[in-house]
Each structure stands twice: as C-alpha cells, then as structure tokens.
Symmetry: C2
Subunit: 90 residues, 2 copies
C-alpha cells in the first residue's frame, strides 16, 4: 500500500490519465496529485473532474496549486511556463 | 471603488486579460476572480501567474476552485465542461 500517487498529464487521451488516477486509488493511495504544465493544464482539470464525477465519488479536491516553472533551454534564455497541481484525496 | 472584479477568459491574446485584471486592481478592487472553461483554463492560469509575477507582486492566489458545468444544447443532451475560478487578492 502506498500513501500518495502522482500522475503527470501529457498529450495522451484524457481517459488514459483518468485510468491512471483511478488505479492509484484502487491500489490503496489515499491521495493522488495530478500535475500538468502549459496547454495540458486544461486536461488536468478534466481528469480530476472526471475521476470525481464518474469513478471515485468520495474523492475530493483537497488543494489546487498554480505556479510558474522556469524551463532551461540549451540556447537562449529560460522560458516560463504555468503549472498546476491538483491534490485529490479520499 | 469596487470590492471585487471578475474577468472571464476567452480566446483573445493572454495579455488582454492580464490588462483587464491589472485594471481592476488599479481601480481599487481588493479581489479579482479569473474564470475560464474548457481549453481556456490553461490561459486563465497564465493570466494569474503573469499578473502576480510581473505586474502586481503583492497579489496572492487566495483560492483556486475547479468544477464541472453543464452546457445545455438546443438539440441532444447537455455536455459537460470543466471550469476554473482563480481568486486573486491583495
């Protein structure tokens, strides 16, 4: 049994990530953190809402944190990208 | 003087919305709520982060709420869309 899981949201279909979150909870996680950057932020919110609405009704959004991350690039200055962390717990 | 402002994020350039939020604060708002739905959610996070990082350093993210909204359509069933509300205050 693990206490917390983390799911990073990328460009795959939304339901892939929903399944990953649900699997974490079913494996015994009490908390799953959904993380995303940039354009994937919208998908992270979709994932959290679908998990709560359709699969794990007793999961609640315990915290939503937004931030800015600096991405180092090989040439030129670092670029900034927005990020989100949605903490789901049950 | 007004106490709270609301900025709805759509498909315009990000800086348009940043300017709208900054204007609310400069007009005396203590709190500005940035709202978005669907694909615009990522842009809402960008707007909040740019306002805090570049324009109003003493603004803080007081709350981030995510939800699901039902959109009624003229024909066929209602569709669901994720939404976000970011509460900035100073």
């Amino acid at each position: 049994m693990v206490d917390a899981g983390v799911v990073y949201i990328g460009k795959k279909p939304t339901m892939n990530y929903v399944l990953a979150v649900v699997t974490h909870f079913n494996d015994g996680s009490r908390e799953v953190i959904v993380k995303a950057r940039g354009r994937s932020i919208s998908r992270a919110v979709d994932v959290a809402e679908i998990v709560r609405g359709r699969f794990i009704p007793d999961a609640e959004v315990r915290d939503v944190r937004i931030a800015t991350e600096k991405l180092a690039s090989e040439d030129g200055p670092a670029t900034s990208v927005s990020s989100i962390e949605i903490v789901l717990s049950k």
